[in-house]
Symmetry: C2
Subunit: 381 residues, 2 copies
């Protein structure tokens, strides 16, 4: 039997028990609110995890790149929303994939709508399209109060070459909320702005087939989805320190961790070095509020379970080196003295599991300390 004590490092561990619990809990939450679940697979990029989500009721998936969408299509996923405002440089790829599966793309500009229509017409296809709405995050999406938004919705709905799927929004500002109350306010805004716009469009004679919302923080808080047909959370399968730090989940709900080996520990040093650097963790700084940060990730107290070290973090990284200690130069020797000897193993919780997963070729699936298998991460670009 292989255990985490035998694995080459760095390795990305995926705790199957925690994963299953997270998948089931979100599926129940969304169906309990009367909506369908279309999870975002950008967090895991993994066919097996996508199938687990399907077994628990996911209807279709959401992808972040056309390569990701294609990889999942190659494995039988046949209803995929590419939730990025359509890059016109990818129109050939979009048409090719739309011939094979139900691919739904996103537009928030007349320029992209026009190029998409032209490509669909040339191909003799009708391509599914969402109109992206800005519900307050102010990244992309049309301002629902702007006259141009109504005109663009009408254009999509009336196009002979497109199938108008409805309105899609992402409340990314929910990631900046620090309390459940703040997240609930963002979740309400996400629903109200988008459903309100759908109703105004209906009043103008523009049928809106569906409203799609969702992020992990807002879905954790959300208490009503009337008027909403589907939700697209992604991070919840794994969670991470960013989510645990602000209380979206508990530390023991985080399903992925990076297993590393201590490779250098000089006598008297206030840090040791592990073989997990920027290309294992990413350089995501973690939660917005500085007081919630734990360097590049908190260090676990053991090789299984959710308990964390009090003072010790992975406080800095270079490309393949990670610095472990209390991170206060000169004052942290006591935190690691007599511990973390060369050859010892540690586990680090990622700040941002989506970015960490994208740096590995596979998950090592574990239950406790036991290795159960390996699942490929489809991280092609």
């Amino acid at each position: 039997m292989t255990t985490v004590h035998d694995l080459p490092t760095p390795a990305l561990l995926l705790d199957a028990d925690v994963l299953e619990r997270n998948v089931v809990a979100m599926a129940r939450k969304v169906s309990g609110l009367g909506a369908a679940l279309r999870p975002h697979v950008k967090t895991h990029k993994c066919i097996e995890v996508g199938r687990l989500q399907q077994q628990h009721g996911a209807r279709g998936i959401t992808a972040a790149s056309i390569v990701e969408a294609r990889d999942f299509a190659d494995h039988g996923f046949d209803d995929i929303t590419w939730a990025l405002p359509l890059p016109v440089s990818r129109l050939d790829d979009v048409i090719a994939l739309a011939r094979r599966i139900t691919l739904r793309v996103l537009v928030d500009s007349s320029e992209a709508a026009e190029e998409l229509e032209r490509a669909a017409q040339r191909a003799g296809l009708r391509v599914h399209v969402w109109l992206e709405v800005d519900c307050g995050y102010h990244r992309s999406g049309v301002d629902p109060a702007a006259p141009a938004a109504l005109a663009l919705a009408r254009r999509l709905a009336e196009s002979a070459h497109l199938v108008f799927d409805g309105l899609l929004t992402h409340a990314g500002h929910g990631y900046h909320a620090r309390t459940g109350e703040e997240r609930l306010a963002v979740a309400h805004q996400e629903r109200e702005v988008t459903v309100g716009f759908a109703n105004r469009l209906a009043g103008q004679g523009i049928a809106v087939p569906a409203v799609s919302v969702g992020s992990t923080p807002t879905m954790a808080a959300q208490d009503r989805l009337d008027g909403v047909q589907e939700a697209r959370p992604g991070n919840y399968v794994f969670y991470d320190w960013m989510q645990a730090a602000v209380g979206v989940c508990r530390p023991e709900d985080v399903a992925v961790s990076v297993l590393a080996t201590v490779i250098s520990h000089q006598p008297g040093a206030d840090h040791c070095i592990v073989d997990a650097g920027a290309l294992a963790m990413s350089k995501d700084a973690g939660p917005g509020p500085a007081d919630l940060r734990r360097g590049l990730g908190p260090v676990y107290a053991g090789l299984a379970g959710g308990a964390l070290e009090d003072r010790v973090t992975l406080y800095a990284v270079s490309q393949e080196h990670g610095f472990v200690g209390a991170g206060d130069p000169g004052g942290s020797e006591g935190a690691i003295a007599g511990r973390f000897r060369v050859g010892d193993r540690i586990r680090v919780m990622p700040n941002h599991s989506c970015l960490t997963a994208a740096l590995f070729d596979e998950y090592v699936v574990v239950r406790g300390e036991e290795v159960q298998g390996r699942w490929k991460i489809w991280r092609g670009r």
Copy 2:
């Protein structure tokens, strides 16, 4: 003829003219100082770039991970230093590769030395080993003033199961220097500390076959390498904004850039969105001094050449979205008004080319705006 105007995005462009100039200049610099060049391939992870370095005099290469070392060994590179303190979890991989090529590993502890000796003995091999010396960076490596350093050197030199290659150091603190004068001081320290320790070891009857130093910033400044046999710079093949910002190179010496498409630009917004986010750029914050930072990377003024926009940067990223503008909310509409329309293309200079390259599957090799070919990036983990 394919040009940068035709490519699907995001794409990682590699300017062949700039690459060749950088490769030739560093080879001349190092040989002019009387040392051999053993470039670090962690920056490019690319067989074609490694071969170009060999054509210009590189003798052996340096790798950052055992997977990287194996990938290059599979393509005929037969003398590779793995410049990370040996993770004992990788001993099986080390032995397997040491049977095929001249693999040189690094230790800075008696624990790792002992495990390596035992594995070599079991395998019936003598494994090449460097002793890592801390020349002032204080990441890993033995303190040359510590008695344990001398004892460890003696152990390596006298081992029946190891081949002692000598002393290896990395002056990573050269990355924090802001002027050529500061870098020269670090470069002198790197050489003097390591050569000084080699001389003391010789005085104790311990022969030191070679001294290996080098980083891109210190090699840019270095004016003498007496007592040093080889240098291991890596970043110089591509450079990046971190190097350009502090004057290690000029902006026009940066060989890689990320080609992206504008995918959203709302009327009146002070930003637009491109399809290059954290998984195209990395989240490396760039130069240490905040006044030299340009968000996640400066934006070029055109699709070829080295000129940069004055005010516009890629000032923030989410996973697949990049925010382009002046980055001062409310004040930057003027910087992008009437420009960066949906469908337009831009190029972004990476803050840290090593981390950006590790996010792509291939380089699109260009001369000016013309595409010359594609080179695979061996980013397996």
